[in-house]
Structures are given as C-alpha cells and as structure tokens.
C-alpha cells in the first residue's frame, strides 16, 4: 500500500472514530460517590481495608483512607485509577490540591477543591493510618 494512502487511512480513521465517539457521549467522565469510590478502590487494591471515603463535591475524585494509609481515587475517562499517597507529594494550589505521585505512569493531578474541602482532605492525608 502506498505510504500516502496508508497515512490518509490512519489519520482519517482515527479522527473519524474520535469525532463519532465524542458526539455520541463517549467522552463523559466517571462521577464518584461514596459507594462507587469504595468499590472502585477495592477493585484496584483488593487487599486494603477501607476505613473512610471522602468524595470531592465535584465527583471528580475521592480521598480514601485505608489501613495502608490514605489514597486517591480519581475519574479516568469512564473508569477510575487509584494511588496510595505514601511517597507522593501533596501541595495546596490557588484552587485546590496538586498531587505528584512520583510515577511515570501517573503524571501529577490537580484537583479543584473548595477551601473547606481542601482543609478536610489535608487533615485526613496527614493523619497517621492507625489514628484514622
């Protein structure tokens, strides 16, 4: 097959499929509540004991306190991903919190959190696991 034709097929195919999926609602993010966060966390970390779940009001993410320390579960497309926060850096930003996971497969995440929610999260993140 001529390279020009192959390129046209590949670029046209990817673009066309992307537009079709987006226009039919396949770009919607998952929305996390208490139960979906709990089950979502246990799906990723079945050996953990979930002690407390604090979903963000936006539904974009949830702070999950476990016997192995705090973790963050967040919407990843229509699914979720999670990371324990041990070894991660968490810092305040003007609009919420910034998480750096020290993981090439999980680039940092910025979450918009109102002031009250942000302080509540920080308090839980900094609470030792045995005290949570």
């Amino acid at each position: 097959m001529a390279l020009e034709l192959l390129l046209a097929l590949v670029l046209g195919g990817i673009s066309g499929i992307a537009v079709l999926l987006h226009l039919t609602g396949r770009s919607r993010q998952a929305v996390l509540g208490v139960e979906t966060s709990r089950s979502g966390w246990l799906r990723h970390f079945p050996g953990d004991k979930v002690l407390k779940v604090l979903p963000a009001a936006s539904g974009q993410a949830a702070l999950v306190v476990t016997g192995n320390g705090p973790g963050l579960l967040w919407a990843f497309g229509s699914g979720t991903v999670g990371r324990h926060l041990t070894g991660s850096q968490v810092r305040e930003t003007a609009t919420g919190l910034r998480f750096e996971f020290n993981d090439f497969a999980a680039p940092g995440l910025s979450l918009a959190l109102p002031e009250r929610e942000r302080q509540q999260w920080l308090a839980l993140i900094n609470t030792p696991a045995e005290a949570a």
């Binding site: 097959m1 992307a18 999926l21 770009s27 990371r83 090439f104 497969a105």
Partner: protein
C-alpha cells in the same frame, strides 16, 4: 539459501478492514446497548498506539529482516512456498507466538514492551490495535530464528506473523459471547482472550495463544472464562495516562528507575529487568503468584477452581 520471495504486508492491507470493523462493533454496541463499551480518549490512545506500532515496523523492521536474511544465507534447507509449506509455517509461527507471548508476561524486559497492549481498562476492537512501539528492543525476533533455519523463507515467516496478528484482531470484543464448542476447543476466541486480558487474580498469566488455544492446553496455561468471575480489564496497577508516549515507555522507565536504586547487588539489578513483573528485592511488591496466593487467603473457596490450580 538464496532466492527472491515477497508477500504482501497483510497488516497494512488490513487497515481499512480494521476501521470498518471498529465502526461496526461500535454501532452494534450502541444499538444493542450491550457487548462492550467505548471511551473516546481510551480508543484514540489505542489507535495512536496501533499507528505508532506500524511506524516502528517501518523504521526498525530492517533489524529483524537483516538477522533473518543472514540466517537464510546460512541454512541449507528450503521448505519452498507450497500451500503445505505456508500451512506448516503458520502453525509453527503460532507456536512461536505462544512462547514469545508467554515470555512477554513472565520476563519484565519483554513485559515492558507488551504491557501497553494490556493497559486499557476497556476491551473492544480498538484494544487489539494498542500495540507496542518497542518490540525490537526485546530481541524476541530471535525466537523466529529456528523457523528460518528450518528452511522457511523470512518473507514467509513475516507473512505468517502478519496473518497471526490479523486473526487476533477480531477476538478483542465483548460482542461475541461464546462460539460452537468445537471452535472454542481448538481456536483462540473472544471468550478465551477476554480471560487473558482479565486483571482478576484468576486470569493472571493464562491463555497466551495467538490463533490455536491448544498450545495453552498443552502447556498448562489454559483458563476458561468464568461466568461468575467476569474479566476486569486492565493492569494489576492501572496506568493513569492517555499519553501515548507514557503508555509506550512507562514500564521501561520503571525498569531503569528500579535498577538505579542505591545499595542493590548486581543480581538484584538484573532481576529488576528480567524477573517476572512484580519482583522486588525487598518483597514490597507482588508477583502474579503472590497475588493469586493473597486472593486465596481472602477467598479460600476458590482453591482448586480454574486459574487457582483447578
């Protein structure tokens, strides 16, 4: 041996079919409201990985080709290009695929290349195209060497490899439940391959087949899909990026980061590269065997069932 033989690049020729089949699967799912799910960024990432894999083949394919032609010059054997030669080559190449695929899950150096194929949490026809960009660096082309030395022309070997990949495209779907018993017994099917893509402890390291599932049955790695334990797609530790560069290189980055840790012995550094995925020098991570053991500790009722020694 010498000789000019050429076969079409079937993977490239199949591109229009791939696009048409993806559209057909998507429409089927949308109309029936079952049989899988699509997500825009996930699908686009998979398609870009597929395009990148073709590009990698165009750029670096000469490495494997040079090796095979060197071996072809050495061998006194020539199996020819008869229909029987093509059929035998196809079957042998599928056996070759089984072992390369098994290495791909059991040797981290090879897993670093293959992991991206498992990195989607979805399972649809676009997942089939989420292919590696770094296959050349695993040096697994060496597993094709015996076929060339047996007298199968390199062009024929690559042709059969292309057919093998095309066969595997259609089994990446939830739209097909199960096929007739005789077919499920011999061939790799959507059901068998769904199990292979499952991150459930039961399905870790099973069903490596390309075309014929008989290899898994022969070598003890077959696990049938269980209706009460549906495959949960993705990785044990799912990646959190749709960036194709991170998808392609994240495990390589992980290997080199692990190998650079201070105070490791040379053996430990090498094990980070070549031991099964999940190896750690301090026991802080879990291999698939440890994950299965931990699952059985939580669910002893699963002991002896498929995937857990059954």
């Amino acid at each position: 041996m010498t000789g000019e033989i050429s076969y079409p690049d079937v993977t490239q020729l199949a591109v229009p079919f791939f696009i048409a089949a993806i559209l057909a699967e998507f429409l089927w799912i949308a109309l029936k409201r079952r049989g899988g799910r699509y997500e825009t960024r996930d699908a686009v990432t998979s398609l870009i990985m597929g395009a990148g894999s073709v590009a990698e083949g165009l750029l670096l394919g000469f490495v494997a080709w040079a090796l095979f032609m060197f071996l072809w010059e050495l061998t006194p054997l020539d199996m020819g290009t008869s229909v029987w030669a093509v059929l035998v080559c196809f079957v042998l190449d599928d056996l070759r695929y089984y072992w390369v695929h098994r290495f791909g899950h059991r040797v981290r150096w090879v897993w670093a290349s293959h992991v991206n194929h498992h990195s989607s949490q979805h399972y649809n026809l676009t997942t089939a195209l989420r292919q590696t960009w770094t296959g050349t660096f695993t040096f697994m082309m060496i597993v094709k060497a015996p076929m060339v030395l047996l007298g199968f022309h390199p062009a024929l070997v690559l042709f059969c490899g292309g057919l093998n990949l095309i066969y595997q495209f259609w089994i990446h779907t939830e739209a097909v439940s199960r096929l007739p018993r005789w077919f499920e017994a011999v061939m790799n099917t959507p059901s068998h391959h769904r199990a292979h893509h499952g991150r459930n402890p039961r399905y870790l390291d099973c069903n490596y087949a390309g075309v014929f599932i008989i290899w898994d049955k022969m070598f003890g790695t077959f696990v049938p899909e269980q209706d009460h334990d549906r495959p949960d797609y993705g990785l044990v530790h799912n990646i959190a990026t749709f960036n194709p560069l991170r998808v392609a290189f994240h495990e390589w980055a992980g290997i080199f980061k692990d190998m650079r840790q201070p105070d490791l012995t040379l053996k430990q550094r090498l094990l980070y590269a070549f031991a099964p995925p999940g190896y750690s020098h301090d026991g802080s991570r879990e291999t698939s065997a440890a994950i299965k053991a931990a699952h059985l500790a939580r669910h002893p009722e699963d002991a002896g069932t498929p995937g857990f020694g059954g």
